[in-house]
């Protein structure tokens, strides 16, 4: 058979591509469940890190996560809970959750070992080279940041990539989202700069101006829709629980 005839070449290419395609499809299907689990576990690790829970061994990540995260919530712009199905917040794809008008607002309610309640809010934004995202854990006063974890797809190693490192993330601890009752998210600014609206600030990373600004913008943009929800948390702390009030009035009536 003539190896250089057109028919031979076309058949050769077609058969080869068909075989390779089948093989790859098969491998993809076989490995998919394992890969999805890895990606989900990676997200869980990031959330746990925002809560300052030491990263457990690979096998125990899911278990540990379920132990601390007690409830998943979706809230609306007025701070009402609209959904609290299991894992509903965890399953929100932040990549597709960008448009402000249709944005879903996931919240993960967590209970730590010491019994304190934290709320984890996911954030998603743009760095210098690609997307950056993170998880902000807020105390139940709806104001103080308990912990933060940031990740990125491809920021410059040694510069912007340092947002994913502990020293930078630790700076967010005990910073506030509100100043004197007004919503003013903590900002990431260069040394010497001052916030214009009186918000608190964190030192930007040297040599990573755009990534630092990205973190700052991401926090402001993604946390703003939660204002009402956070206000409600603040209100709940100042006043006794609504349920408790009802009980008292009931008692009064029976007397």
């Amino acid at each position: 058979m003539n190896k250089n005839s057109n028919l031979y070449q076309i058949l050769y290419a077609a058969v080869m591509v068909l075989l390779v395609g089948t093989l790859l499809a098969f491998i993809y299907m076989a490995l998919k469940p394992k890969q999805n689990e890895n990606i989900a576990n990676d997200t869980r690790k990031q959330i746990l890190s925002a809560l300052h829970v030491a990263s457990p061994a690979e096998a125990q990540i899911k278990e540990t996560y379920e132990k601390y995260i007690v409830q998943d919530l979706l809230v609306d712009k007025d701070g009402n809970i609209i959904d609290s199905t299991h894992n509903v917040a965890f399953n929100v794809d932040m990549k597709k959750n960008v448009k402000l008008a249709e944005r879903q607002l996931p919240v993960m309610k967590c209970k730590l070992d010491d019994g304190s309640i934290k709320y984890v809010l996911p954030v998603y934004g743009a760095g210098l080279w690609g997307p950056i995202w993170g998880y902000i854990a807020v105390n139940d006063d709806g104001n103080t940041i308990y912990g933060a974890n940031f990740s990125h797809e491809g920021e410059t190693p040694g510069l912007g990539a340092r947002i994913a490192e502990q020293p930078f993330q630790d700076e967010f601890k005990d910073k506030h989202l509100f100043v004197d009752g007004e919503f003013k998210v903590v900002q990431v600014l260069k040394k010497g700069q001052k916030t214009t609206n009186g918000a608190e600030q964190i030192d930007a990373l040297t040599g990573a101006t755009i990534t630092s600004r990205g973190v700052s913008d991401m926090m402001a943009d993604c946390l703003a829709p939660y204002q009402a929800f956070l206000k409600k948390l603040q209100g709940a702390e100042a006043m006794p629980e609504p349920a408790a009030i009802e009980e008292i009035t009931d008692e009064n009536q029976t007397e």
Binding site: K3, Y12, N41, G158
Partner: protein, 207 residues
């Protein structure tokens, strides 16, 4: 099994005919993944696997491949192997696959592969081709590891993520050299290695 010719196919690429140091192939990924040792070693192993198996497959097919479309055939084989490696990494070593990100995919365009397929596997039987693939992969990996060793040590003060430069050095004013982490320093490190290599192998020096 290991005739003189086969030995040459395996050992030459380690030093005298090293793909990075002598043929100057695969530089791009050598710059990108050598900021620390772990990704460098995984990248090296990935290249060894892809190179050895694509060499063998192409060597088996060499008598059937139509000359006109041989590059396409080679690319399809390499691409398929690279995708398999990538998928396996995501499934079994997710952290490293995140670090290597796009560079595993870019093995496809790594000149070492096409170079070896075209220059060796197309004209030799499977066993020598396999040895040639392993040898070239190892030659590439060795350079990657040397570069990564210096970059991680001087740039981050760690090796495989473990701190090796003691704290008191930092207390006395020692600082990690941030420049080492950036790609240009990889190029300079490779340059220094080539210099050392050539001064030890006089026959490689051009006049």
């Amino acid at each position: 099994m290991l005739s003189k010719k086969n030995k040459e196919a395996f050992f030459n690429p380690l030093s005298k005919d090293n793909p990075v140091l002598v043929q100057i192939l695969g530089i791009c990924s050598a710059l990108a993944v050598t900021a620390s040792l772990e990704p460098a070693i995984v990248m090296g192993i990935s290249v060894i696997c892809v190179l050895a198996f694509s060499n063998v497959i192409i060597s088996f097919l060499r008598k059937t491949v139509p000359t006109n479309i041989r590059i396409i055939v080679q690319l399809v084989v390499v691409a398929a192997l690279v995708i398999i490696v990538q998928q396996i990494l995501i499934a079994y070593n997710y952290d490293v696959s995140k670090k290597l990100s796009v560079f595993v995919g870019l093995i496809i365009t790594n000149c070492i592969l096409m170079g070896r397929l075209e220059a060796f596997a197309m004209h030799n039987s499977p066993w020598p081709s396999f040895l040639d693939g392993i040898g070239n992969g190892l030659g590439y990996t060795i350079v990657l590891l040397i570069v990564a060793f210096f970059r991680e040590l001087l740039g981050s003060g760690t090796l495989f993520g473990f701190r090796v430069i003691p704290q008191w050095c930092y207390d006395h004013g020692y600082m990690d050299n941030g420049l080492m982490i950036l790609p240009p320093m990889a190029l300079i490190t490779v340059g220094v290695i080539i210099w050392v290599h050539r001064s030890r192998n006089k026959e490689l020096q051009e006049n």
